[in-house]
């Protein structure tokens, strides 16, 4: 059996590299941390190191709906200014319709509607009916930017919390994946991400008493909003609030939790535009009440005592310290353009992760010993050769996982254990073939050569089919299952290499040293 020098050298180099790259995995954690970036242990999945995985969905339809509402409001304002009489103004979530009442104004109205936004198609029907729709491209663009903005806001909110190494990625059209290693309680994150945090300042509408508004007689341009903090019986259950936004939360530059009269409050500061608007609004409405609205609820409605020109103020809403902290954080990080839903959450505590690693390590160790004993029981000395190949295989697998930056999950460990069992198959095929060839009358060297060559076809065929299955598993697999597919796939490659190259090298060395007369795995000399 021949094995060229360059082949020997390259096999040894591959094995050596494997040992070097796999080494960090065997070192204690703090030693490994001081190693260079290219020489790091394998990344552990959230199920092993503990942490939280959240799949969020941005409710993009609500963005579209909001645009529709905005469109309705601007049509109302325009028509009023120009004294165009209209009826049936409203939207159904996809299109806005309006009926212009006086015939001579229809042309003028059409012109006005067209001027609102070039991205809107205006179609006129009979009897002064108009239908306005956003162009598809405009909708796609708006949805997309809503998701992008949400991603940014999520990132800022999580950064504010100071979690270590969070991963925040967009997935598909309207989803965001958040991975937070080491996070113990995802409850707070979930609470923070679950809030849109849309802040706005509105005037309270005094023209209609609340009781009447609750009976359905809400003046146009106003709405009834619930009171967020109803602490005492005197507090009204809700307020009649003007729809018009005096100042919005997007004009905030900073907000911090603080205390006033020993009560937790949130202080805020506007940018220049916001400060001017806030100043104008408060100057013109001294004595009236200003509603501070967060996510559709009134958190407080103080009376404006004097114009506030400095551009800063405080929100006092009977907060707890935690609530004040959270609100300040949310206002700093900005509002989400749309609400988000949690589609999926998987959290593993660090204890369970450590338990899983321990169980995985024990199972791997015991599995390895069992397989090795089995191979020795089956093939004696050749079994040991196979065992050396198996260990090299595991080392290479760990090295590949580390170098490729793959994530090792609990199912991934299962993949490694399974690989150990299946990896010896290549060796078994080769050895059985050798026995057959030897029994059929070939010389020792000849039989071994033929064993390798003929078994190779079978090994390739059988491994490629398994590879197909593993590849599809990776393609369709979710989360941890992918980790399983990765180790299984890489394990197939490394086991082909070790069974064919490493075993062969060992056998060649053995032949040179021992100068055998017969095939040891056949028992009876031919």
């Amino acid at each position: 059996m021949h094995y060229s020098t360059w082949k020997t050298v390259s096999v040894l180099i591959v094995c050596l590299l494997g040992f070097v790259f796999a080494l960090p995995n065997a070192l204690p954690g703090d030693t490994a941390e001081r190693l260079p970036r290219w020489l790091q242990p394998v990344t552990l999945g959230l199920d092993l190191q503990g942490g939280s995985h959240l799949l969020l969905e941005v409710d993009v339809d609500s963005v579209v709906k909001e645009h529709m509402t905005g469109l309705v409001e601007s049509i109302r304002t325009k028509f009023r200014q120009e004294r165009v009489r209209y009826a049936d103004l409203g939207h159904d979530g996809t299109k806005v319709q309006v009926r212009v009442l006086d015939g001579e104004n229809v042309d003028k109205a059409r012109q006005m509607l067209r001027e609102i936004d070039p991205q809107i198609d205006v179609s006129a029907g009979d009897g002064g009916n108009f239908v306005l729709t956003y162009q598809d491209q405009a909708l796609v663009q708006r949805r997309n930017s809503a998701v992008e903005q949400s991603l940014e806001v999520v990132r800022r909110r999580i950064d504010e919390l100071g979690t270590r190494e969070p991963t925040i990625q967009r997935q598909g059209a309207d989803r965001i994946v958040v991975q937070l290693p080491g996070l113990k309680d995802p409850g707070r994150i979930r609470e923070l991400l679950g809030k849109t945090a849309k802040l706005s300042f509105h005037l309270i509408d005094d023209s209609t008493p609340l009781e009447e508004a609750l009976r359905g007689r809400v003046p146009p341009g106003s709405e009834v909003l619930p009171n967020a903090e109803k602490k005492s019986p005197e507090d009204p259950p809700s307020y009649v609030v003007r729809k018009r936004v005096e100042v919005g939360g997007d004009n905030l530059t900073d907000s911090q939790p603080s205390f006033q009269d020993a009560e937790p409050v949130v202080s805020f500061r506007f940018d220049t535009v916001g400060a001017r608007r806030f100043g104008d609004a408060t100057k013109a409405n001294v004595g009236r009440r200003l509603a501070i609205v967060l996510d559709g609820k009134v958190i407080s409605a103080p009376v404006i005592r004097e114009p506030i020109m400095g551009g800063s103020g405080i929100i006092s809403g009977k907060f707890t310290v935690q609530a004040a902290n959270d609100l300040a954080l949310l206002l700093r990080a900005g509002a989400l353009p749309a609400p988000m839903n949690v589609l999926e959450e998987r959290t593993v505590g660090p204890d369970l992760g450590a338990d899983s690693i321990r169980a995985g390590a024990i199972a791997s160790g015991v599995g390895l010993v069992l397989v090795m004993l089995f191979m020795v029981a089956g093939y004696g000395l050749f079994g040991w050769f196979a065992n050396v190949a198996l260990i090299v295989n595991l080392v290479l697998l760990m090295a590949l996982l580390s170098v490729l930056g793959a994530t090792l999950t609990l199912p991934g460990i299962a993949g490694i254990v399974l690989t150990m069992g299946m990896a010896v198959d290549a060796n078994v095929l080769i050895y059985e073939r050798m026995r057959e060839e030897y029994r059929n009358g070939r010389t020792l060297i000849n039989a071994m050569q033929a064993g390798f060559e003929r078994a190779l076809v079978t090994i390739l065929d059988s491994n490629l089919t398994t590879l197909l299955a593993a590849g599809l598993l990776f393609w369709f697999g979710a989360g941890p299952i992918r980790g399983f597919a990765v180790t299984l796939t890489l394990g197939l490659f490394t086991s082909m290499f070790t069974a064919v190259m490493v075993t062969r090298l060992l056998l060649v060395l053995w032949i040179k040293r021992a100068r055998p007369k017969h095939l040891p795995i056949e028992g009876i000399p031919a």
Partner: protein
């Protein structure tokens, strides 16, 4: 040393294909039982596919399952299943069925459970899957199974002949149906891990079948006059030692995983153990007898050049 080969017959000569009628009856019964159970009992789908909540908690004192069941039962969140884990009696697995309504309803249920359990427990694992993701995971899992079987068939067809592809596909399908059927019959939880296990079983089974077919193809070129039934038997017997040793080593490794790998992986390992057994059975007793019914010789003699190494064999 080499105890195994002393235990195995040196040159086994089993009449595998001759027993095909018995094998077909057994195979038929396995499939029938699986299909009937799948049709009537269905699968015990885990939250991965069904949506819902799963929590693993550790209590400070010994967990009082009865009290916990009462507390959680009063929340009006539908069916709550409790299961004790480990030996200490401190760990409890809580499963809450999918809540009617959208993703927000699942979230609300999670909050309710956490509030009801209070501060005294430690959350080792929390999984929440909304209906949307559950449906997607189910679809993806089914797609992966269907596609992998299809891809395997195409590969075998490409590398061998269509007869082999049919045999391989039937053997693989047999293993997949039997494994899924076993989970249905035993009422074991069917989750994402089990899908991975089933696909692994498909991979293992096809691996076994391809190794056998490889030998059949080789022998067809080598022994041009041998009756097909003898040739199939010869091939299976020649590969018998390999089949047992590879199967044995895989079983040992997975057995270690089943016994020591922890609760999360035990279902997965259980499926693989069954899969290795059924996969080994099917590659001998399903995949081989099927070839008997195809006229394999015609394709071989037409295309193949005379085998060169006949003299050696």
């Amino acid at each position: 040393m080499m105890i195994l080969h002393r235990l195995l017959p040196q040159t086994p000569n089993f009449d595998f294909v001759g027993k095909r009628v018995i094998a077909f009856v057994i195979t038929g019964l396995i499939i029938l039982a699986s299909v009937i159970s799948l049709g009537t009992r269905g699968l015990n789908l885990g939250i991965d596919f069904q949506g819902g909540l799963l929590m693993e908690v550790r209590t400070q004192a010994r967990a009082d399952l009865g009290a916990m069941r009462n507390t959680l039962g009063d929340l009006s969140i539908g069916e709550v299943a409790l299961q004790e884990l480990g030996e200490g009696g401190h760990e409890v697995l809580i499963r809450v069925q999918r809540q009617p309504g959208d993703e927000r309803a699942q979230m609300a249920a999670l909050e309710k459970v956490r509030q009801a359990l209070g501060q005294g427990v430690e959350y080792r694992r929390t999984e929440l899957v909304g209906p949307k993701v559950g449906d997607e995971l189910f679809f993806d899992g089914a797609m992966a199974m269907a596609l992998s079987i299809f891809a395997i068939a195409v590969y075998v067809w490409f590398r061998f002949e269509w007869q082999y592809a049919i045999g391989a596909i039937i053997a693989t399908l047999h293993d997949v149906v039997a494994t899924v059927g076993l989970f249905s019959i035993l009422g074991l939880e069917f989750n994402l891990n089990i899908v991975a296990a089933v696909l692994t079983i498909a991979g293992y089974s096809i691996n076994d079948t391809v190794v056998e077919y490889d030998r059949v193809r080789e022998n067809l070129r080598k022994y041009k006059q041998m009756p097909l039934i003898d040739l199939l038997n010869l091939s299976a017997n020649e590969m018998f030692a390999r089949t047992l040793i590879t199967g044995g080593s895989t079983l040992l490794a997975v057995l270690a995983l089943y016994l020591l790998g922890g609760e999360v992986l035990s279902g997965f390992a259980f499926a693989i153990i069954f899969g290795v057994l059924i996969g080994t059975y099917s590659s001998i007793y399903v995949a081989m007898p099927i070839l008997y019914y195809f006229n394999l010789r015609s394709t071989v003699t037409k295309e193949e050049e005379p085998a060169k190494e006949e003299a050696a064999g």
